[in-house]
Amino acid sequence: MSDVIVDAANVSRAFEMPAGAVVAVRDVTLSIAQGEHAAISGPSGCGKSTLLHMLGCVDTPSSGTLCFDGSDVSTLDDRARSRLRLRQIGFVFQRFYLLPMLSAAENVELPQAEAGAAKDVRRLRSIELLEYVGLEHRANHRPSQLSGGEMQRVAIARALANRPRLLLADEPTGELDQATSEQVAVLLDRVNADGTALVIVTHDPDLAGRARRVLTMKDGQIEQEVTR
């Protein structure tokens, strides 16, 4: 297996609107390797989230090719693409997107259940993951009973549930205060240190500064890339 997990070659994404097409991402070429820690930053509306969605197979490019593990994503049907998202990619969103009717543990169990893990196996893994994000004592609490930072940590635990090779985070600290953001940032560092490739989209210079590779976007293109 190659070292590259996801490889975008000249990808663009345009949204057809009544007033004309909006080109969110323009001719971007980028690959993310195993264990990498990258951050994408740039002004609002420059196409960061759109690029991240394409990398995570949540959205498809209008042109260019996007390969995941060497296979062209555009040739995959919904079933195969869903499988990829379920098992290979973890996604963390600014708004958490936890299911409000499920407890923290159940939210973490959900992707494992879909992946076919046995009940006791996924129970154990959920508790393990909640311990990992420091929330084992809140396992039976609903999202509405948790703070923003806690919800984001549950969302990270859920994203890691099926041991993905790539974790994508879109403004994971966007809704959190400074201290809580720091907790989440430390947690993400740890996830990466444990071997998961990490791509974070953020406006927060501190969070971006933790990455070894920082990409800066402007008008749908990667304007600058700094690797440390």
């Binding site: 949540v58 919904d78 998202r85 379920l86 708004r95 997107y97 299911l99 879909e114």
Partner: protein, 322 residues
């Protein structure tokens, strides 16, 4: 309508004193046999007719006049009791009156067209009827009857009996109850009326169910979006929503059925009391119940599939973002 009834059209002459039908099948017995043996559930070969009561109840006499049965409602209306003797006339001007003895009452076959009208029916032997209605100019034995209704003791033998009559009696046509001219007309109209009501109800229910499922599915937009983002394939979500829709529709149908069954007795009791009839107004048969559930489940599936289809066409992000 009773399945035990066979309508026989007999255009041929009926010999006086004869009981058409009784010779065709030993199970069919004339009415006087019924009385003599004192059986309750005997077969009856007789004509149902409405005859005008010529006079009031007359005191019983020594010589036994021919026997008749009168409708329960008529008995109540005229204050006639079993054992009384009555005088009947055909109602034709100048027709003679004849004396009859009431040996029992009967419950008239319920007729939806005569709802609220008290039955004044009388059942008598065919020979008595002929004697009563014959005008002076018609020689005995030359009367015509168009048809007689025969009740069989064993309803399952209807087909065999009809075939037997048709094979043996030239010029007589035995028909099944539904085939007798005019016999089913009332019910055909009623069935059409019911079908129209059912169609309108089902269309209205479909619209309602569709609106309900659209709401149900729409409420789940965010959840479906999150599931899609996590990596649940569209078909999995569709199946899940479909199962829920079908269960919901099935549960609704069962609830409706339970309600119908529970209120069936009450509705029948009320209207039977209100119109003094034995007519059954509501009857939930297993076929009706099955049809209800089958229609509901299919409608539920179609409604949820329609509602989910639009939803699943949007990407997970768009749904989750709401």
């Amino acid at each position: 309508m009773s399945l035990t009834t066979v309508s026989a059209r007999v255009p041929a002459r009926v010999p006086e004193g004869g009981h058409p039908g009784c010779c065709y099948n030993p199970r069919v017995a004339p009415m006087h046999t019924h009385r003599r043996r004192g059986r309750v559930a005997g077969s009856v070969v007789a004509l149902s007719c409405v005859v005008i009561l010529a006079g009031s109840v007359v005191p019983a006499q020594e010589a036994q006049p021919p026997s008749i049965l009168i409708a329960r409602q008529l008995a109540a209306l005229e204050g006639i009791a079993v054992g009384d003797e009555v005088e009947l006339t055909s109602g034709e001007p100048g027709s003679a009156t004849r004396r009859f003895r009431v040996i029992g009452t009967y419950e008239p076959t319920p007729n939806p067209l005569q709802l609220g009208v008290a039955s004044r029916g009388i059942r008598m032997h065919l020979t008595d009827l002929l004697a009563l209605t014959r005008d002076a100019a018609t020689p005995a034995g030359t009367e015509h009857v168009e048809g007689i209704t025969i009740a069989l003791q064993d309803p399952d033998s209807t087909r065999a009996f009809v075939n037997d009559v048709n094979a043996r009696v030239v010029g007589a046509f035995a028909l099944f109850p539904g085939q007798a001219a005019g016999a089913g007309d009332t019910f055909v109209v009623l069935e059409r009326f019911h079908m129209a009501i059912a169609t309108v109800t089902i269309i209205a229910a479909t619209v309602f169910l569709l609106a309900l499922t659209v709401m149900l599915v729409d409420e789940r937009r965010a959840t479906v979006g999150v599931l899609r983002l996590i990596g649940f394939p569209a078909h999995r979500i569709l199946v899940q929503v479909l199962i829920e829709g079908v269960v919901l529709a099935g549960a609704g149908a069962l609830f409706g059925l339970a309600l119908a069954v529970a209120s069936e007795g009450l509705i029948n009791w009320f209207f039977q009391w209100r119109y003094d009839t034995a007519l059954i107004f509501v009857h939930v048969t297993p076929t009706v119940a099955l049809a209800c559930v089958a229609i509901a489940v299919h409608l539920g599936a179609v409604a949820t599939a329609t509602a989910s289809w639009a939803l699943l066409r949007s990407g997970g992000l768009r749904l989750a973002k709401r």
